[in-house]
């Protein structure tokens, strides 16, 4: 989402922001959830990426005004969401948690939200239910819905307010692949309409499909920001360990040690544990080195490739 007119802008910020987070810290007693986090969001889809417990939900709640900030300030369309109730006309939150008023039907839930926002178009709730594919079950109680259906009911309740800023906390949780694809298409369409769509997820590939711009939050801090490439580059250069099972471990180890991509090699029986800070280069080098050493590769497996480990490395 970089603006060509402002080439040197910090990737954490956008040129024409609708939501500004300025040095925000939020803590709950001794637990600090968000620490001096500054960023901004503008029209289009922005992905908020981070492992569970990173502070994404807290940040989203602070943006919507559900939580006061202990330090710093949040501005939505130039207004403080904690002080100015009129902001709520323009912002909506789809929370991650399962809490929905189970006694209501999906239609009642969406109509209730529409009434609170003084929506006059009586057809709009029906349209929104149709948009998320819940029109056929609109008279069923939300309590009997699956997690994915609840999420979609909440998304319909959010859509009916026609928000300028839409904050969605893990909205794809519980959705099957077909629903997931359709929801991604919906969010992208909303972003293309000029709405500010902020979507959190802890699934890297999911966010990359959703949003051209991503912010990575780890331990309450902004760890990286930018487009797919910037995040990917940040991930590619992190140190990682790779397990290689081969027929000629010692010869392959000797060949690899001369490479800049390899920081160290440990031999353990028929296995090598290779430390590298350039995973991309290592991936290209490994088959070439194996051919040179006359070694057969039986298994190649990253040892620390969980998303959490990726995020941890980003924070270093």
């Amino acid at each position: 989402m970089s603006d060509p007119e402002v080439p040197d802008l910090d990737p954490a910020f956008v040129a024409h922001p609708t939501v500004v987070v300025d040095g925000v810290s939020v803590w709950f007693g001794p637990k600090v959830a968000v620490t001096e986090l500054s960023c901004s969001f503008g029209p289009g889809v922005t992905g908020l990426l981070g492992p569970n417990g990173a502070g994404k939900t807290t940040l989203m709640r602070a943006v919507c005004g559900l939580l006061p900030t202990n330090q710093g300030a949040v501005r939505v369309l130039g207004r403080d969401p904690r002080q100015d109730r009129s902001v709520q006309q323009d912002i909506s939150l789809v929370p991650e948690d399962d809490a929905v008023p189970g006694a209501l039907t999906a239609r009642q839930l969406v109509r209730y939200t529409a009434s609170l926002h003084s929506v006059r178009d009586r057809y709009l709730p029906e349209d929104c239910l149709a948009t998320v594919g819940l029109l056929d079950v609109a008279d069923r109680r939300v309590a009997g819905f699956s997690k994915g259906m609840r999420q979609r009911a909440k998304i319909a309740a959010s859509l009916v307010t026609e928000p300028k800023v839409m904050v969605l906390d893990e909205p794809l949780n519980g959705a099957d692949p077909v629903q997931r694809a359709a929801l991604i298409e919906l969010f992208q369409a909303l972003g293309a309409e000029g709405r500010t769509v902020i979507i959190s997820s802890h699934v890297l590939n999911e966010v990359q499909r959703l949003a051209a711009r991503q912010l990575v939050v780890i331990r309450g801090r902004l760890a990286a920001a930018g487009g797919h490439r910037a995040i990917r580059d940040a991930l590619a250069d992190r140190p990682r360990s790779v397990l290689v099972r081969t027929s000629e471990p010692r010869r392959l180890a000797g060949d690899l040690l001369g490479s800049d991509a390899v920081q160290g090699v440990a031999v353990d029986g028929d296995s090598l544990i290779i430390s590298s800070s350039h995973a991309g280069e290592l991936a290209a080098l490994l088959p070439v080195a194996a051919r040179r050493a006359g070694a057969r590769l039986r298994e190649v497996r990253p040892l620390d490739d969980s998303l959490e480990s990726v995020f941890r490395e980003l924070l270093r």
């Binding site: 009129s86 929905v100 006694a103 629903q179 919906l186």
Partner: protein
Amino acid sequence: MSEIPSPPTGPPPSRREPDAPRALALPFVAVVAYTLRACLPAKRWFGVLLPCAGALLFGWLTQVNTLPAAESFADVAEHGLFRLILPLTCLVIGDAVLGADVRSGTFPLTWLSPVPFAVIVAGRWLGGWLVALVTIVPAMALAPLFAGVPGATGPMAVATAAGAAAYIALFLLVGVLVRRSAVWSLAIVLLGEWLLGTPLTGIAQLSPLWEAQQVFAGLWSDGDLLLRSGMASGGGSILRLVLISGFCLGLATWLLGRMRPIGGDD
């Protein structure tokens, strides 16, 4: 449920069918309707109707007593209806209208709207009071009939309605103040109203329980059996209950803008 249509770029074909959806309610009406539908599920209704049955049972039990009917009913009204049935029923309703909603995590749905906090508070309170008007008020009003004291029916209905209004406002305020609102509400009744309100008139004057009883005592022809010295009765007590309600609702409105309507976990 496997397919989601395309984004809402235009109205679906069914948009102008003859069976058009009803017009959307005004925000205040929507809050009241939500309170009746969502805050009071079946379990809560059971919790409300059980003490209502207890009120009728108390009225019927009066006839077992060998004392004159009015004297016997005054005794039951003081110790059973006003001290037990009224506060407990109102606690179930008052906790439901806000405290339970906050605890369950569904309150942000209402909080995150442009509706003024005063409208939310008033709507929630009215919803709760309407429930009281169709449950505990008729039950309490019928209790004198079961006791053979028909003259007490009207005063009992008025006293219960006024007392319930103040109680629900008080418990709604507790729901804004603390997460474990049911426990704190019960503590207010047991410690504040029973333990301190019984010997201390100053406390009793702030108590929906005692004021409701004074309303009844002031309006009932045999009410001198229940009158408490140093306190207003009848219309004076109704005025106090209105003031208590107004204070609680006003404070709840003010606090609503300062609360964290969600838990602290990420």
